[in-house]
């Protein structure tokens, strides 16, 4: 379980290149570093639900990112908060 305040990196993985998939980690976050806001609960993995496969319940987190750092544009202090599943996050 990731505690609030934990620094995490979103895996720089691209399952889209390996075949049909359903991914809920936006492209713009792959490889980016953020901070865990809180654990939102445990939910079945949508990557499996999308193909009617048995879906394991995974921890879902709200993770905060510095918006200008991602886009090289924008106002300092502005943030993006995104729901991300545990298997997409690694310690930063």
């Amino acid at each position: 379980m990731l505690a609030p305040g934990t620094k995490v990196r979103v895996k720089n993985d691209w399952p889209e290149l390996r075949g049909p998939c359903h991914i809920r980690t936006p492209h713009y976050l792959r490889g980016e570093t953020g901070t865990v806001v809180r654990h939102l609960g445990d939910f079945p993995n949508p990557e499996d639900l999308a193909f009617a496969r048995p879906a394991e319940k995974l921890a879902l987190y709200h993770v905060r990112f510095d918006q200008p750092a991602i886009w090289q544009q924008g106002k300092a202090g502005d943030e993006l908060i995104v729901e991300l599943f545990a298997h997409w996050l690694e310690a930063a």
Partner: protein, 193 residues
């Protein structure tokens, strides 16, 4: 030609017929479902906001458990996605988007508006939101921090906007009447008409 490329109106007619023939979804069930869905509207969310503005305990509930707060207003939530509520403050303004599709707090706001589902909104909200908000005439002060929430998973998000000045002593009905759909997504800020 791939059968899926068949014109949409014809696909609907065919699918409607097949689902009825197989007892999966009959015309009366479809009609009833449309009637129920049409009953949803931003007015439900507006009533929640107005109550939060006047009742500190309800406000606390809304922020800690949006689903329970909706149910407390007789909005059925069983089997529906959990509702998260984002509190606007003097320092922070929230904006909700679903860049991947169109996840929207339908249970409390009704059908998502056309713009929420558009490519322009989904693309710009996470990358250039302050400029995009000007398409609604919303000019966020530089001193306010903007927090864009991308709905990528199981939660559905609505904004609890700040109560505007000049509404002291108003009833919940009067307050609810000035809360618009856009105020609860973050593209506009409530104002006195």
């Amino acid at each position: 030609m791939n059968i899926l490329e068949t014109e949409s109106d014809r696909l609907l007619v065919a699918v409607r017929g097949l689902l009825a023939a197989k007892g999966i979804a009959t015309p009366p069930e479809i009609t009833e479902r449309i009637r129920i869905t049409d009953g949803g509207s931003p007015a439900q969310g507006a009533r929640m906001v107005a109550r939060a503005w006047t009742d500190p305990e309800y406000r606390a509930l809304m922020l800690s458990d949006g689903t329970a707060a909706a149910e407390a207003m007789s909005i059925p939530m069983r089997g529906l996605p959990p509702l998260g509520v984002l509190e606007n403050t003097e320092e922070v303004h929230h904006l909700v988007v679903c860049t991947l599709c169109s996840c929207y707090p339908r249970a409390v706001l009704g059908y998502p508006p056309f713009w929420f589902k558009s490519a322009a909104y989904r693309a710009r909200a996470v990358r250039d939101p302050r400029a995009m908000l000007k398409d609604w005439g919303t000019d966020l002060p530089a001193a306010i921090r903007l927090r864009v929430v991308d709905s990528t998973a199981d939660y559905r998000w609505m904004v609890l906007p700040r109560r505007p000045a000049g509404t002291e002593g108003w009833t919940v009905e009067q307050l609810a009447a000035i809360v618009r759909e856009g105020d609860m997504i973050g593209v506009t800020i409530p104002k006195i008409a």
